[in-house]
C-alpha cells in the first residue's frame, strides 16, 4: 500500500554510497589527490618528516578554532569574532602570567614562571574566550540579534579590548617553559601543539556526533522552531555553542603564545574567514543542520597543503590565495547542488 518496497536494495545502497562519496566525500578525495600530486612530484621535500611536522603545526591552531566554528555553523550561526577573541585571550593570559611571575617591568625575552603560573594563564585564556562566547551567545539567542552582526561587533570589541590592555604593543615576555615545552616541545616525536589540537578535535568530534548534546545542536541548526517545540532548550544550546567557540579560541590563544613566544595582536585578522572557509570546505552547510568535525579537519588541511606544495614546487605562493578562493566557491556550489538533488528526492 505504500512505497515500492520490492525495489532492489543492493542497487540502492551502491547508488547511495556513490552519491555520498561524490557529494560528501569529494573534498576528502581532493585532499588525497593534492597529497599524491605533491608526493609524486617532490617526494623528498614534501614527504620529509620535517615538512609533515611543519604542516601539522601550521594546522594545529586553525584546527582548534575551526572545530569551535563547526559547532557554530552547524547550529546555523557564524562566529566572526574567533580571531579577535584569540588575540584578547592571549593578551589577558600573557599579561597575567607576566604579572604573576613578578617580572612586570620587562617586556622582552622570557620569564621563568613555573607550571602553576602557566596553568593560571591557560585558565585565564580559556575563561576570557568563553566570556566573549557567552556574550555572543546571549546576544544571539536571547536578544535575537543576527549572529553575523553580533560577532562582527564583538570582533571589533575583543580586538580593541586587547589593544587597550596592551597599548597596542605585543606582550613579548612568555614563560620559558610554555615556549620550550609546549610551543617547541614534542612527545614521542609528535609536537605538543599537534597533540593538543588532536585532543580537541577528537573530543569535539565525539561530543558532536555521539552525544545527545551534539544531536540537539544539529536539530537546532536544522529547524530551530521544531527543536523548540520538541522541548529542546534552544537558547541554552545556542549560548553553549558560542561559549565553546570562545573557549576554543582561548585554547588556541595559549597555543599561539607558546608557539610564537609573543602575543600576535595583528596576526589574526583573517582567522575568522580562514576557519569559516575550512568548515564550509569540509561539507558543513552554511544553512546549519549538517556537517562534521572530520570534514573540518580536511578543510583545514587543504589550504595549508596547497600553500606548502606551491612553495616547494616554486609556484609563487600568491597562487594559493587564488586557488583557495576558487575551491571555496566550488565547495559551496557543490553543497547547494547536493541540497537541490536531495530535495528532489
Amino acid at each position: 500500500m505504500t512505497t515500492t518496497t520490492a525495489e532492489a536494495p543492493t542497487r540502492r545502497d551502491t547508488g547511495d554510497l556513490l552519491f555520498r562519496t561524490l557529494t560528501g566525500g569529494w573534498i576528502f578525495l581532493l585532499l588525497i589527490v593534492l597529497l599524491s600530486i605533491f608526493l609524486v612530484l617532490r617526494p623528498e621535500q614534501f614527504g620529509s618528516a620535517y615538512n609533515v611536522q611543519q604542516l601539522t603545526i601550521n594546522a594545529a591552531i586553525f584546527l582548534v578554532l575551526a572545530v569551535g566554528q563547526t559547532y557554530v555553523i552547524i547550529s546555523a550561526g557564524i562566529d566572526l569574532s574567533v580571531g579577535s577573541v584569540l588575540v584578547f585571550s592571549s593578551v589577558v593570559s600573557s599579561k597575567l602570567m607576566l604579572y604573576l611571575a613578578g617580572d612586570g617591568g620587562t617586556s622582552f625575552g622570557t620569564t621563568d614562571a613555573g607550571w602553576g603560573i602557566i596553568l593560571v594563564g591557560v585558565a585565564a585564556a580559556v575563561l576570557a574566550g568563553m566570556a566573549w562566547g557567552l556574550l555572543n551567545g546571549f546576544l544571539i539567542a536571547v536578544a535575537r540579534i543576527p549572529a553575523l552582526i553580533v560577532t562582527l561587533g564583538t570582533m571589533g570589541m575583543a580586538l580593541g579590548g586587547a589593544q587597550i590592555l596592551s597599548d597596542g604593543v605585543d606582550v613579548r615576555a612568555m614563560p620559558e617553559r610554555l615556549v620550550n615545552d609546549i610551543g617547541a616541545g614534542s612527545i614521542a616525536g609528535i609536537p605538543v601543539l599537534v597533540l593538543i589540537a588532536a585532543l580537541c578535535v577528537v573530543v569535539a568530534g565525539i561530543v558532536l556526533h555521539k552525544t545527545r548534546y551534539g544531536l540537539q545542536v544539529f536539530a537546532v541548526g536544522s529547524h530551530i522552531e521544531a527543536a523548540r517545540r520538541s522541548g529542546i532548550a534552544v537558547n541554552r544550546r545556542l549560548i553553549s555553542v558560542y561559549a565553546l567557540s570562545g573557549a576554543m579560541a582561548g585554547i588556541a590563544a595559549v597555543m599561539a603564545n607558546a608557539r610564537f613566544g609573543t602575543t600576535t595582536i595583528n596576526g589574526h585578522v583573517m582567522d575568522n574567514l580562514t576557519t569559516i572557509s575550512a568548515v564550509v570546505l569540509g561539507g558543513t552547510s552554511l544553512f546549519g543542520g549538517a556537517g562534521s568535525v572530520f570534514g573540518t579537519v580536511v578543510g583545514v588541511f587543504i589550504p595549508i597543503i596547497l600553500l606548502n606544495g606551491f612553495v616547494i614546487m616554486g609556484i609563487p605562493p600568491f597562487w594559493q590565495t587564488v586557488a583557495m578562493g576558487a575551491v571555496l566557491i566550488l565547495a559551496v556550489w557543490v553543497d547547494q547542488l547536493k541540497r537541490r538533488l536531495r530535495k528532489r528526492g
Partner: protein
C-alpha cells in the same frame, strides 16, 4: 455515557475587534476520528491552537478526560497526552527519521555512558522502526535526511512521532492540504491506524468527501460557533455544506 478524552466548552476568543470564537464546543471521544470542518474564517485554526496549547481562550473550559486543564504551551498539552501536527510539521529536515521521532527525547545508552550523554542510536532506530511498522509507514531508508522524503512520507513521520508520544489525542491540521491523491490516501490510512492503536485523532480538513470517508464524527464550525455534530456514516456532503454555510448554533444543541 463515556467521558470525552478532550472536551472544549463554550470557548470564546477575540483578537481586537474580531470575534474568532463565540462559544465553540468540541469533544473527542475515545477511539474515534473526529473531523473539524468549517469555511475559511470559521475559527478552525484558532480552535486548533487553543486545543493544542498554542493559544489561550478568553473564556471557556478545556477538560482532558474530565479534568479541567489550562494549557500554557504546546508542551503542557503534550504532557496531558495531546500532540498536534501543524502544517509545518516541526521536523528537523537534515536529520534521519529516527532522530526526528526522538527529537527532544533522545535515548541514551544505559549506565555511565548514558550519564555522559552518549546516544543509543541503535535503540532509537529499532524503536522508530517498530513504530513505523505498527503504523504501516514504509520509508526507503532509515539513514537519510527527512528532506529527501516525499511530502506524504514527511507527513507520515510527523504523525508517527505525534502518535508515539501522545497518549490520548493527536490533532492533524490540514494534513493532506499539499499532497497528491495517493499520498493523501496513505496519510488517511495512517490516521485510521493511529485510531486503531487507541489514540483518537482530530482531523482538520477542507476536503468533505475525504472527511466523510475517514471520520467517525464531524463537527462543523461556522462564524466561531459549533453548528453541527454529525455522525459521518449518515451525513452527506450536502449536509456538511449546508451546515458550513447556513448552520446555526441552536441546531447543534
Amino acid at each position: 455515557m463515556t467521558t470525552p478524552l478532550l472536551e472544549a466548552t463554550d470557548i470564546h476568543r477575540t483578537f481586537g475587534h474580531v470575534q474568532a470564537l463565540r462559544g465553540a464546543n468540541f469533544s473527542v471521544m475515545p477511539n474515534e476520528i473526529v473531523a473539524l470542518i468549517g469555511d475559511n474564517g470559521a475559527g478552525k485554526s484558532t480552535l486548533v491552537k487553543i486545543l493544542s496549547g498554542a493559544d489561550r481562550p478568553d473564556t471557556g473550559s478545556i477538560r482532558v478526560a474530565g479534568e479541567t486543564m489550562h494549557f500554557g504551551s504546546p508542551y503542557d498539552a503534550q504532557q496531558a497526552g495531546i500532540a498536534t501536527v501543524f502544517q509545518d510539521l516541526a521536523l528537523a529536515p537534515d536529520l534521519p527519521p529516527a532522530e526526528n521521532l526522538f527529537l527532544g527525547r533522545e535515548l541514551v545508552r544505559p549506565g555511565f555512558a548514558g550519564r555522559l550523554g552518549f546516544l543509543d542510536r541503535r535503540a532509537m532506530r529499532e524503536r522508530a522502526a517498530e513504530q513505523f511498522q505498527r503504523l504501516g509507514v514504509h520509508l526507503k531508508s532509515d539513514r537519510v535526511a527527512i528532506e529527501t522524503l516525499s511530502g506524504g512520507q514527511r507527513q507520515s513521520v510527523a504523525i508517527a512521532r505525534a502518535a508515539m508520544w501522545a497518549q490520548r489525542v493527536i490533532i492533524l491540521d490540514e494534513p493532506t492540504a499539499a499532497l497528491g491523491v495517493v499520498q493523501t490516501q496513505r496519510v488517511l490510512d495512517l490516521a485510521k491506524r493511529v485510531r486503531d492503536q487507541g489514540i483518537s485523532v482530530v482531523l482538520i480538513s477542507h476536503n468533505m468527501p475525504q472527511v466523510l470517508d475517514v471520520a467517525d464524527r464531524v463537527q462543523v464550525l461556522r462564524l466561531g460557533q459549533t453548528v453541527a455534530n454529525l455522525d459521518a456514516s449518515s451525513a452527506s456532503v450536502d449536509d456538511l455544506v449546508r451546515e458550513m454555510t447556513s448552520g446555526t448554533a441552536e441546531e447543534a444543541a
